[in-house]
């Protein structure tokens, strides 16, 4: 079974402060991990995926298989980063789940001026 846990429902930081949104997962195979973001009144959109190892809008996330974590980090938060962030897991290319994503509960990030 696939499970994604985001322990923080709400996270508040001040502009310029570092931010880390936690994500832990449970899956027996080799998963693909994603971070999706939902800005106010907008659709869910992909922020980044672990296989591309890219940095988007200053955010990075490293897959730690030992700790089964995929925490999202940004060294200096901006007000425009305020949004709902979802960690999601897919069974990966070898899986049979046809790309089904399992989402965490989401973390509402608020960046104060």
């Amino acid at each position: 079974a696939q499970r994604v846990t985001q322990p923080e429902k709400l996270l508040s930081v001040f502009k310029g402060a570092p931010v880390e949104l936690k994500c832990n997962y449970s899956y027996s195979g080799s998963p693909e991990l994603f971070w999706y973001v939902q800005y106010s009144r907008q659709r869910l959109q992909l922020l980044l995926r672990h296989i591309s190892r890219e940095s988007i809008k200053g955010f990075t996330a490293d897959l730690n298989k030992g700790e089964t974590s995929f925490h999202l980090k940004k060294p200096f938060a901006q007000e425009e980063d305020s949004a709902m962030y979802y960690c999601a897991l897919s069974a990966g290319a070898g899986g049979t789940s046809y790309g089904k994503l399992t989402f965490g509960q989401g973390t509402i990030l608020t960046v104060h001026p």
Binding site: R43, L46, R49, Y98, G99, T102, Q105
Partner: protein, 117 residues
């Protein structure tokens, strides 16, 4: 940039009524999904659809739910007899096949909010 579109954006219905939510996935995508999000809860997988058939469904997706791709462009979710607990935001998503250069990324629509009274 192509987008997944959903209609209606909001529907209010009486308990027991049938509801059809419509989605137009991105045109060269081959995998289609419905998810729902009850207010305050996580986004939950309902069903995936590939090659004109359901490929996977969750335990939420019971006999009251059905999906269809009637004309090669639309992808619909039908709820036969709505219940109060069906009130939620329903998201459609689509994905391109890996062999066609796709990745694991799902592209989501803006959602259809269903309110059952």
């Amino acid at each position: 940039e192509p987008e997944v579109t959903q209609t209606p954006s909001h529907q209010v219905t009486q308990m027991g009524q049938e509801v059809i939510l419509r989605c137009v996935p991105i045109s060269n995508h081959l995998y289609f999904y419905w998810y729902r999000q009850i207010l305050g809860q996580k986004v939950e997988f309902l069903v995936s659809f590939y090659n004109n058939e359901i490929s996977e469904k969750s335990e939420i997706f019971d006999d009251q739910f059905s999906v269809e791709r009637p004309d090669g462009s639309n992808f619909t979710l039908k709820i036969r007899s709505t219940k109060l607990e069906d009130s939620a935001m329903y998201f459609c998503a689509s994905k391109r096949a890996r062999l066609a250069g796709g990745t694991g990324e799902l592209f989501f629509g803006e959602g259809s909010r269903l309110t059952v009274l």
